[in-house]
Amino acid sequence: MLRKRWLKIVLFLLCLVPCLYLAWRAWNQDLTANPVEYITHFTGDWTIRFLVFTLAITPLRKTLKLPDLIRFRRMLGLFAFFYGCLHFSTYLVVDKFFDFHEIVADVAKRRFITVGFTGFVLMIPLAVTSTAGWIRRMGGRRWQLLHRLVYASAVAGVIHYYWLVKSDIRLPLLYGFLVGILLAFRAVASLLNRRPAAVPVRTPLRDNP
């Protein structure tokens, strides 16, 4: 079922919905009293959400025993990068008007921008090497190690959010919690793999009577 071609198309369109929603609101001039802030927050929200979706694929495919979910991970990851680009370019173009001097000062001075910028920059090599060609070129092992940078990106995103809110930390904490359990799952899984076979391991021979 998960192998159906049209499923990827549907997912692609769903991933575009937030962007289309934003465009629709812009069309209706309904971007609130502070449009730049609204667009920045909206695109930032969807960046961290897509990072959470991407990180959720592996725990879901392991616990639900649905290995085919892997087919959607790249798309979700690239959409995280897409919304991250929108978020960063809103800041770059609209907020700062390409004033690089100001931007450098910002990145140096405002910690939350430093960590946000870091989180975004870490996604760039992941987007570039997202293709099957690159997996071949780098070899699976090296590719997998590189793509662990997504953990750092997600954590940076949470800290970025936490450091920019005035007092209401509920959403940053929620994303922190979600990223936390998704990373904890991997930590636990990796620990369990390293243990000697005190835990009985199922092999095909043993399963077939």
Partner: protein, 315 residues
Amino acid sequence: MLIRKPAGIRYSEITPKDLYFNRRKFLAGIPAAFLGAREALAPSTAAATSLPNVQKSQFSTTEKPNSYKDVTNYNNYYEFGTDKEGVAGNVRKFQLPAEWVVSVEGDVAKPRKISIEEIVKLAPLEERIYRHRCVEGWSIVVPWIGFSLSELLKQVQPTPKAKYVAFESYWDQRREPLARPELAGIAFPYVEGLRLDEAMHPLTMLTVGMYGETLPMQDGAPVRLTVPWKYGFKSIKSLVKIKLTGSMPPTTWNMANAHEYGFYSNVNPQVDHPRWSQATERRLGELRRRPTLMFNGYGDQVASLYNGMDLKKNY
């Protein structure tokens, strides 16, 4: 673009059509306080009434006021949630108490409990177009209506012991279910404070209206403070208590985060917030940010209050 009309024409006469018709629709909700009617009908936020006999003020800026729509749909009023765009919706169900009294007490010779009807008649109403700068880095220009707080303070006669003025905002957990520290990140009731000379300064305003009408709930109905040279969170909304005191009073944002929000909180482009710069601001309605002015542009009138003070230490 809001074209400034010659003196004498009120904002209510150039109010957008839909707002004008909404006021008609909610005429029944006009507070008993303002009309002197017998029924204690509390108003919904749409039922603003026109304020009569409002004079022009020498304190007004020539800058263009923001639209009424912007000023009423972008509010930091955490009693109604921390989402700035959501406050307007969340106040819809809120009913202002029919009787509103501000208690003026503490180190004064003549403490009194003054009703909103008495406040409106205390001194001639002026329209003061003030700049309003939020600590977050955005700003607006609002045509407030009221008079100098000193008019009220003079009447209650502060004693020599009084050095500061403490303010307290309305808080009712039942009527304001979102007004909880775990949801908002700040404690309630919202409190603020000024030094006595700051409170007595002519610019400090006891505000009862805006745009020619009474205040909507999201902007601090029925009476609030407006201190234009300080960050907006010091302009406490929905006043219920004014207390003269000898010691520096606690202020909500300072209690929430003393490192980031000081007692004075004067608008100062040279003193950054620990996490962001205060050198520029975004005026709502404009695309590019603009440089922030020292004391929000009111330096000529207020700088002398801080002679000799290290404004980096006393942020």
